[in-house]
Symmetry: C2
Subunit: 169 residues, 2 copies
């Protein structure tokens, strides 16, 4: 388990090969967790686009080549969803997650293209215990997705409700 | 076509039974567009959750009933993706859409549960022509999703790049 004592003051990526159970107390500002990486191919991008975001540059190869990005790019919602899979696996714990209040400031500075591999890092920005319900707190975290060329493709700030560590856990 | 002259100063929902082609000039602050509604069932919620957001309250009916929401709820990313389908159909035009810079402030004040029907409204907050590229502009819009009980389930602010109307269009 990640304890407060082992957390660096500045962002430092912690490899998480095994699943770590985290409670509110473990989300200490400065904790940075490597959430692994994912790749996405053209077939997946088009399938997601057809279902949820059928703009030409997500679903139509010919139109996309003539369009603003010069080719197919992933829907931003596809990228957030694929990111979430990594975050659930490496950063959030089912033992403590009480859902999200929302998201602040998603940015997509670089398109995600077929064949890209994105590494996901989650860094705790702020952790505040609830005044009214001291068995939980609010954790603000910044997610960053960096592609195989070391270019940031997405950043995001998530606001999550997290259960505090129960006695004996 | 929606012209600036026909746009109300305050938010007023415009029904869009037919597809309307919009360019930058048409996204006038105060324009509010009814983007229709969608429903989501338990099978769809679990399928999305298993693929992208496998937290117990999205994928496991028994665990969800004992969990913080008392039952299965949709991943917030599922809700944003289903919203996007409505926005692409009713608010964005393939003729002018140049993608999104990002999103500000998603909030999920009420969970989306199996069987819910969400109505999507998009309201233009701000439209600013690019100084460096006057053939386009940036449009900030607020999306609101209201469920069958008239409760707001999601709000979001999107930041989109939009092409200006070409000569003769």
């Amino acid at each position: 388990m990640q304890s407060a004592e082992s957390v660096a003051d500045t962002a430092e990526v912690t490899e998480t090969s095994e699943r770590i159970i985290r409670y509110f107390e473990d989300y200490v500002p400065g904790l940075a967790v490597d959430c692994g990486s994912f790749s996405v191919n053209e077939e997946q991008i088009i399938a997601f686009g057809e279902q949820y975001d059928p703009q030409p540059f997500h679903v139509d190869r010919d139109a996309a080549e003539k369009g603003p990005f010069g080719g197919i790019i992933a829907s931003g919602w596809h990228t957030t969803s694929l990111m979430m899979r990594q975050v659930v696996k490496h950063f959030i714990s089912p033992e403590s997650s009480l859902g999200a209040a929302g998201i602040d400031e998603i940015r997509w500075p670089r398109p995600v293209r077929p064949g890209d591999t994105l590494r996901v890092t989650a860094t705790v920005l702020e952790a505040r215990r609830s005044q009214s319900k001291p068995d939980r707190g609010i954790v603000r975290s910044r997610m960053e997705l960096v592609n195989q060329d070391a270019v940031t493709a997405m950043t995001m700030t998530a606001i999550n409700f997290v259960r505090a560590r129960p006695a004996g856990a």
